[in-house]
């Protein structure tokens, strides 16, 4: 076991982690721990763009952007945070350009912008061009640019280090972050990182669904680590299902495809979004479009022998436009479906995409231990966090924005905090939890397999807590997850070695997914209303009287060791905008 000491430790090297690292490395001694090589992070998969009211191609301003964000989130957005997001968006994009990001350009040489779902002129009048982009590779360019600048700043990375536990020490009755415990993939060695400030930037948790745009490695490790230590998770029932995943595979086809003029059609060739969203049509917000697709499918207008998908039609767009603006996604269609998008429509279905919920933070990125109390020394940013700027449904292009705005804020805040304090003492035997978890898995002779349990988890999640939910389906999921958690105790692995033991880590990741799936389902069961990404067929309306509030889920352990989830609620911050019915 090795012990390291740093001012600031960042968990994760995606967009949020590296944006934070660029700031904190300038200000404090920083280590970035990441289970993947930085450039492997899933930020690189983002396609469509990053929102900012630059007004380079048409009139726009940050107030309209704030409004769209609040409305898109079905009014569950904390409006003070949304305002910061929209205001700081402009500098966030300009900063990236200065760091070298190769944005697409207008004829004047400024950053080009395009339309994206839910982004509108003057509070919903018409779609507006707000998304700054680099073809359909915006996330790739952000990830590469941030990594390049980390190389330039000499950021210290610990690659293929898995953070498996959060260390908390109580000092004068206050719970403080003391550091993290990490597992080195190459050697199997355990490392303690004592740090004055820890920033979680470990990304999403989409892998508990089967059809998903998320990477195999998005297993919610950060959320699970703090949750296990008694800290709450906010709004976990809100998950975004993106309308256009490649049929059966879930690989994302960016909303930018519809921003460029792509149209959704049912088996009769009908442009069905006109029925559901007369103004924004195919560019209504994602929850609305995903539900419309499933409504078409359920009512027998789906395509294919099983009627289980619809089409994304790009055939009316000039091939030069597809080549210039959507080169990657057209290549995905060719590679994975053998389809030529110039001439054939692409079969799509909604795909599990984005966790709106996560570790609750304030606008400085400080993690909360209840509705208001900050955990000194603990920060979170990016998809792992819930600020909450996305509320019940995130607008496209607002996440690449989120990771840059709040990654930067968390990096500055953490490093500055680290200057004002000493190290918090490590708990006694800090590696205890991780050591015992690993030993149990390595020595277990149980007869359950990771692959089987994960498959069953993904199937129940897809069937029961996806686009449409009811009390019945959610309860089915809750019961199934409980069964799987029981069976997980009998999981055994075949690889007993120390070197690159991915068998072991997949088992640990599955444990995290099971914990978080349970939180999601239990939170969803209690929210007896429909809002944004959470749609209850048995409660089809939004209920502002009872549910205009954030869910806060806590893990409780009884005296007998029995685990349970306690739900509490937190008020939504409303400043300018009163809730209205959401029409597109």
């Amino acid at each position: 076991m090795k012990i390291h000491k740093y001012d600031t430790v960042i968990v994760g090297a995606g967009g949020a982690g590296m944006r934070a690292a660029i700031e904190s490395t300038k200000r404090s001694r920083t280590a970035v721990l990441t289970k993947l090589y930085p450039t492997r992070s899933h930020t690189g998969a983002a396609q469509g763009g990053m929102a900012a009211a630059l007004a380079n191609v048409e009139e726009d301003n940050w107030e309209w952007h704030t409004f769209d964000t609040v409305k898109g989130g079905d009014y569950l957005v904390d409006q003070d945070a949304a305002e910061i997001l929209a205001k700081e968006a402009i500098d966030a994009v300009l900063d990236l350009e200065k760091m070298g990001l190769p944005f697409n350009r207008t004829p004047n040489g400024t950053i080009d912008q395009r339309r994206f779902g839910g982004h509108s002129r003057n509070h919903g009048e018409a779609p507006v061009r707000r998304s700054c982009y680099a073809a359909d590779r915006t996330g790739h360019m952000i990830l590469q640019t941030l990594y390049q600048n980390c190389v330039k700043e000499g950021v210290e990375f610990f690659n293929e280090f898995y953070v498996l536990d959060q260390l908390i020490t109580e000092e004068d009755g206050v719970k403080k972050s003391a550091g993290v415990v990490a597992y080195e993939l190459a050697t199997g060695e355990i490392h303690i990182f004592q740090a004055k400030a820890v920033i979680y930037a470990s990304g999403g948790t989409g892998k508990f669904f089967k059809v998903t745009s998320n990477a195999h490695t998005l297993t919610g490790d950060g959320q699970a680590a703090v949750y296990r230590r008694g800290l709450p998770l906010e709004d976990m029932e809100f998950f975004q299902f993106h309308p256009t995943g490649i049929w059966r595979m879930g690989i994302l086809l960016t909303e930018g495809a519809r921003g460029e003029g792509g149209i959704l059609r049912n088996k009769d060739g009908e442009r069905f979004m006109e029925k559901y969203a007369p103004v924004m049509k195919d560019l209504a917000s994602r929850d609305v479009v995903s539900r419309s697709i499933y409504t078409e499918i359920r009512e027998g207008r789906g395509c294919g022998p099983e009627g289980d998908h619809v089409y994304l039609d790009l055939t009316h767009l000039p091939p030069e436009q597809l080549d210039a603006k959507l080169p990657d996604i057209t290549e995905f269609a060719r590679t994975y479906l053998g389809i030529e998008p110039y001439t054939d429509p692409i079969p799509i279905q909604p795909t599990a995409h984005y966790a709106m919920g996560g570790i609750p933070t304030n606008v400085e990125g400080e993690v909360l231990s209840d509705n208001t109390t900050v955990v000194p020394g603990l920060y979170a940013a990016g998809e792992v966090a819930c600020v909450s700027v996305h509320g019940a449904n995130r607008l496209g292009t607002n996440s690449l924005l989120d990771i840059n705005v709040f990654g930067r804020r968390a990096g500055i805040a953490a490093a500055e905090y680290a200057h004002t304090v000493g190290f918090v003492e490590l708990p006694e035997n800090p590696a205890e939890f991780v050591v015992s978890q690993i030993e149990r898995l390595r020595t277990s002779t149980g007869n359950e397999r990771v692959g089987t349990l994960r498959r069953e988890l993904q199937e129940t999640m897809d069937a029961n807590v996806m686009v449409f939910r009811t009390e019945q389906t959610i309860k089915t999921a809750v019961e199934k997850i409980a069964e799987l958690r029981e069976r997980y105790k009998n999981v055994s692995i075949q690889d007993k070695g120390r070197r690159f033991n991915t068998d072991l880590l997949e088992a640990i990741e599955l444990g995290n997914l099971l914990d978080l799936a349970e939180v999601m389902a239990v939170s969803a069961l209690a929210r007896k209303e429909s809002r944004g990404g959470h749609y209850r067929e048995d409660y089809p309306n939004r209920d502002d009287v009872n549910f205009m509030r954030h869910t806060m889920a806590y893990r409780e352990v009884g005296d007998d060791g029995a685990e349970s989830i306690r739900l509490d609620y937190k008020p939504v911050v409303q400043t300018r905008y009163q809730p209205m019915e959401r029409k597109y």
């Binding site: 944005f103 350009r105 991915t502």
Partner: protein, 254 residues
């Protein structure tokens, strides 16, 4: 749009919802167990439209959990899973079974020229070191940062578009015979990433980068075998980029 009756994909899907049996012949190596690498065969039932990565997952999840490889995104964007498949460097997640002659055993082995650590996992550090050595970041000399974005014409942006696509998968570098013989050679990927900045109209350090690549282990080692271009899963014209860097070194124009 043509009236969507049973179109090509669905017809194919309906026809081939059947599974076929394929043999995966995988190069195994685990120094904790044995100093020697061996070939191991696995028989799998698989849909031919699935990826080689899906096949490796089937082995790992259902047959042998010790099989070790890197992967993340599963759709050719993160650069984790470059490997030698039937003797050619490819991404396992971007190679469909049906496209690589599944009647014969499919061989899967680690990329060459980097130290194998376990099964398909190689030591990527020398590769990333070469990348870092070419100063892969925008360098400008202006003393006052502009308040807005720098301007760049669409043509100037297009000039280096091809090399911005690199995902640092190492398929090119590890297919290069010069790199196999001399690990000191920067390798195609590092040159691609230098190219990305040398030809960016905003960058002002082209001379410095060219000097680095003028080194004895730099661009002049390239023998234009085109292996790298063939291997690149992003379709980057790697050899052309290297040629352009060579030309810039001679003419000092970029």
């Amino acid at each position: 749009m043509a009236t969507p009756v049973l179109d090509k994909v669905e017809a194919e899907a309906a026809a081939s919802d059947h599974l076929i049996t394929v043999t995966f012949r995988v190069r195994r190596f685990n120094p904790e167990v044995s100093a020697d690498a061996v070939w191991e065969d696995f028989q799998l039932e698989i849909d031919p439209k699935e990826r080689v990565l899906d096949g490796l997952h089937k082995i790992k999840w259902d047959v042998d959990g010790t099989l070790t490889f890197r992967r993340s995104c599963a759709h050719g964007i993160c650069g984790s899973d470059a490997m030698r498949i039937n003797g050619k460097n490819r991404l396992a997640c971007k190679t469909l079974i049906k496209d690589i002659n599944p009647e014969k055993p499919i061989t899967v082995e680690p990329i060459k020229g980097l130290t194998v650590l376990k099964d398909l996992v190689v030591d990527m550090e020398p590769f990333f070191q070469a990348y870092r050595d070419v100063m892969p970041f925008l360098i400008t000399k202006e003393t006052n940062e502009p308040t807005r974005e720098r301007l760049q014409s669409a043509e100037d942006r297009e000039r280096f578009d091809d090399t911005t696509k690199c995902i640092l998968c190492a398929a090119c570098t590890s297919s290069c015979p010069v790199f196999w013989n001399d690990g000191q050679y920067f390798g195609p990927a590092a040159i691609v990433n230098a190219h990305r900045f040398i030809f960016d109209s905003r960058d002002e350090a082209a001379e410095q980068r060219l000097e680095i690549l003028n080194d004895r282990d730099g661009v002049w080692r390239c023998r234009t075998t085109f292996n790298c271009t063939d291997a690149c899963p992003r379709g980057i014209e790697v050899t052309k980029a290297i040629q352009e860097v060579k030309r810039a070194l001679i003419t000092r124009r970029f």
